[in-house]
Symmetry: C2
Subunit: 433 residues, 2 copies
Amino acid sequence: MKQIGVGLLGFGTVGAGVVDGLQRNRALLSARLGVDVVVRRIADLDITTPRGVAVDPAVLTTDAQAAIADPGVDIVVELIGGTGAARVLMKAALEAGKSVVTANKKLLAEHGEALFALAQKRNVDIYFGASVGGGIPIVRVLREGLVGNAVVRIHGILNGTCNYILTRMEREGLPFGTVLAEAQRLGYAEADPALDIDGFDTAHKAAILALLSYGFHVPMASVPVEGIRGLDGLDVTYARELGYRIKLLACVARVDGAVAVRVGPTLVPLNHMLASVAGVFNAVMVRGDMTGDTLYYGRGAGREPTASTVIGDIADIARNLRTRQARHSRAAQNARETPRLCAADETRSAFYLRLMVRDEAGSLGRFTGILGAHGVSIAAVMQKAAGSEAAGFVPVVALTHAAQEASLNAALDEITASGVVSMRPVRLRLLEE
Amino acid sequence: MKQIGVGLLGFGTVGAGVVDGLQRNRALLSARLGVDVVVRRIADLDITTPRGVAVDPAVLTTDAQAAIADPGVDIVVELIGGTGAARVLMKAALEAGKSVVTANKKLLAEHGEALFALAQKRNVDIYFGASVGGGIPIVRVLREGLVGNAVVRIHGILNGTCNYILTRMEREGLPFGTVLAEAQRLGYAEADPALDIDGFDTAHKAAILALLSYGFHVPMASVPVEGIRGLDGLDVTYARELGYRIKLLACVARVDGAVAVRVGPTLVPLNHMLASVAGVFNAVMVRGDMTGDTLYYGRGAGREPTASTVIGDIADIARNLRTRQARHSRAAQNARETPRLCAADETRSAFYLRLMVRDEAGSLGRFTGILGAHGVSIAAVMQKAAGSEAAGFVPVVALTHAAQEASLNAALDEITASGVVSMRPVRLRLLEE
């Protein structure tokens, strides 16, 4: 049976999982693929620390460029991460005419355009299934399974750390800081959690979903991103009372010929499939023009799930090499024109608002009047019991009908300046149906 | 741009959806694929009734064999259904060296082995994505996305008619017959609903999932199948009180070197993702040895969702034709050995039991004693308020720990014969965690 050689760059958690999976399921894979996939080179700065997987020492090297150049290496797997060495080495691999598998969402979100152009020029492929959704084959689903669909919209829970924190805040009534500290202690959150909790990891993944769906490279700086760092447990509780659960959602959607990409905490109705996604799990709901709503759910990170998707990509390239063809470079260029990206405040949504309103006659009328003057109509408004937040102010929760975000923002500016509230109102989106 | 011609056999609901989708998203598809997919022939006995989609009359024919033989037809799409003409024509297409796309689960479940062998001999492919899960690309996920995984088990809600009936029985407290009649009136159930409600449609799909996961053709006659026709609303209510929802599940799992395939109504915990699948939607939960649990959800039937998956398969073959290769014939032969199929009563499960027990002292002790003598231990037992079911008998609900099904059946035989109950106890599985 023909052998296909893999050169692995970066022997960390996922890298070790890939080596382990390829060894453990080798017979199964070769029976399924008709080729035998073997790891020929593993490059890492550290080649001495045990990774809990048996490796022939002759395979290990600290010289990544030599691993790429090795004639026995047909496929390069980049699992270094970041945009430094990873970028240099991925370029080197593509220049050498070798297809690349990567899980590096940041590199693709920030430098994907140049890398895909290089791959196409060299007639090789970049596979990036593990860059979004870990063990969920969502990239493949968008690229192949739903290939006959125009994507209407996508909503995704794409960061397990945030979903874990939100799940515990809701179930146990704990404040954000307490749950974050415990998530860090348990290894579910990084020592520097900013990339996760401020929404940037989710935004990188949203950009890749937009690339797959609409065929253009989203400029990251133009994506409105809100994380969950500022989320108050009070709003988790009120949302629940109203029949919603707060999730950090990526939203990618076609809106009147433009494309909206954004990330933010969003109220999801309890009976919606996305509301059932608990703990570190991820899920992506895709509405195609033919399929209607479909959902994909699984572990969004971790050694084995991520390695599973990397191996799925290796398998695809191995099948392509059997027939000596690159097949998917076009996947990133499926639109003839580059759609316009919506401005942050251009989109419409229904909103949840929490206002700390001065506890005196006429307060309610003043803020609803300001909203109405900006064309924002109220679907429901509830005064809650006063807590210890601010003496003389009481929390009021309002749900709006769908409104232009720019109008809502202007109304909230005016309400804040009016002195009728003690702080700028909390504003969260509602998942549109 | 190279053109790829499709010959469509069967111009029914899904066939019209395929033609419509290929026309509507033609530019998108050709940009994504690098080839232009055109419908060259449409064969049906009825070529006069309007299908709500514009078709060049010259494309229509009543001669399916001529459509297959047409040199402009590169791909044959079989949407006739059944195992008569569909089988003859699929064989003719494969013999003619043309790859086939089909949604025909019954044909594949009953005659797949011979058809796949013929495809391999002719070096062409059979794509059958739409045979399971409608618009959910579950076949592709198993064949490609999870290719690096050994499949541990699969649980699927695969029949929208049954799920619709179960959802309404639970939400509205209605009896089976009432909901079925209404489902028939609304077009959610066939005039002859047996294939759906007796579980055979689900079993055909389970056989295909087993083929993809374990690489062997499951003999349909060996698959234990229970439908929902006999399901009593009382058990839906009691299950709900215990924190469960009853779903018709297909289960495919590796059990000690053998493979278990079965279909039956099953109690699913309310917080489980499968419990959230309501109405006509389908979902499949796949546990891979690397990914852990993943779930795929969407519309399991209907013109547009099913056509979406057919088009995804056409796209794959079109890409293959661009590179002049068949790629997936091996998918059905991924196991070196044929695993043994578990006997119906060989598997272990926890069970829900409802017994109509004689309302007198000692009754409870007698039946729990018989269960215990057969090695079946009870996790919980509750006596319910007597209804109008049978004078002198009261309903008792019990949940067992995991037990061998053969032992449980023997115990239930003995309990029924003992006279302590008015009817054979109701016995439903609990979803194992």
